[in-house]
Symmetry: C2
Subunit: 311 residues, 2 copies
Amino acid sequence: MELQWIDWLRDRLPRHPHLRLGIGDDAALLRMAAGPDCVVTSDMLMDEVDFRLEECDPRQAGRKALAANLSDLAAMAARPLAAVVSLALPNRPPRGGSPSELAVALVEGMLPLAEQFACPIAGGDTNCWDGRLVISVTALGTTARGAWLRSGAQTGDEILVTGQFGGSLLGRHFDFCPRVAEALYLSERYEVHAAIDVSDGLTLDLARLAAASGRGVLLELAQVPISSAARRMAVQDGRPALDHALGDGEDFELILAVPPAACRRLLDEQPLDVPLTRIGRVIEPAGLWINGPDGQRVPLPPQGYVHGQPP
Amino acid sequence: MELQWIDWLRDRLPRHPHLRLGIGDDAALLRMAAGPDCVVTSDMLMDEVDFRLEECDPRQAGRKALAANLSDLAAMAARPLAAVVSLALPNRPPRGGSPSELAVALVEGMLPLAEQFACPIAGGDTNCWDGRLVISVTALGTTARGAWLRSGAQTGDEILVTGQFGGSLLGRHFDFCPRVAEALYLSERYEVHAAIDVSDGLTLDLARLAAASGRGVLLELAQVPISSAARRMAVQDGRPALDHALGDGEDFELILAVPPAACRRLLDEQPLDVPLTRIGRVIEPAGLWINGPDGQRVPLPPQGYVHGQPP
């Protein structure tokens, strides 16, 4: 199968100035842009864990695999350079068709994103087996002005988020737009101390940023932007919409820790197409906190998806 | 599980000058060495396809996953920079233990190689599921003097190989040494027009080099170095040892196309610890050829493992 598939891929993948050599040799050659650092990130998505091939269009699964990696690049303020895609294809895809047809659909789901974000698919490895579909994507990027780390938050920084949260299972987990353009725009114009993307849950990823920075975060629950999908899910399952916003995950929005002056500018200027909202502040004591009814800080247990634990 | 595993990994993975930032953030940061190109390659290995977790030590599977990628870097004459490792771990590993324990063993199998070849593990993604183990490794490298491509062979070039071929299933497919040091040594001192590593079968990979170069290869069967493992397998299964050498694959030796003058020097000097053997010549007509009994060229069907086809 691989030969046909590689031929298809070679024909189908657009040429790109990043690629001195793409698919077809033992490895791909990437032209390094300016900047001393190459950023690399990997995400592996599995059938019936990250999507259900019985129910979704495989293009959606392919798109999601690349988009999740691009979201990680965005969280580093990195400009995409290229991606490599490895596949373990089921010999008998659940909704019929051949493994080749499945592979084609997966890549077709990736290509519009790859073009939109100038992130050519540089290569990978294609295999068949009698197991379920596994998609492994590794994305490379470059940073011209230094990457945003999780660990840079300072006491007194304000916590900003892009977009809204919760209910991603209603569709957003497939069609989210990785915040690459937003991150690059902000990194060129504003001081950002730390960042993370929300893949596993707003509070869980916020707690990770806080922990990496050796700080805590005082979260203002009333400020958390709740998506309409979270409100719809709340109607369906009776759980508060805020709970969905705090823990559903796969929002793929950015959490930013910025100094107060930059925060004021950002809230005044709202320079992005997506809204920026202040949801809290970096404080000295470690952990995630909210103000209790009596005005005292109480800890908030982070909610979200922990990889490798049964949902 | 992931938190513990990440903590283990962070403690266990050695610091390395290539890594400005390794595991623990959204992506890793690699210091780019001199040279304009970053080389990237990916291999995905699956349980019961590339190894049998029921029978092997998981360290062997981990080692193989990284070593196969390093062999691809060697085939490009690239100096390893870093690797990222993504895992889909079975909830119940076939030989018992937890997914974490399996992950630890896999990485422990990689670490000696990572150190030996200065290829730090920069990150990745760890997941559990109810499917079988999948290991996806992406390796990055740099080329100071330009990469060896498959497509550079010229008519009149001689075909050289490192090492011996055949019978890798008897052990070599786990304990092979990727020819990184050999490739770097040769690329600095000798003119090499084209190269490929033998993963799927000597004749199959040789045919790929020929096809990528738009040339043919006249193979001298009597010159093919046959491993002792191939001879042992021949005794076991009654097939000629030469057949094993031509098609077994997973030898992870290098095939090189070099101009005649460089070939003479290489054979005279034998500059590597592993023997270099001349096995054929690049000719004009496409395809893989041998000299028949009457002195006329006859085509030789390439043998080897084609990914995605049942073995």
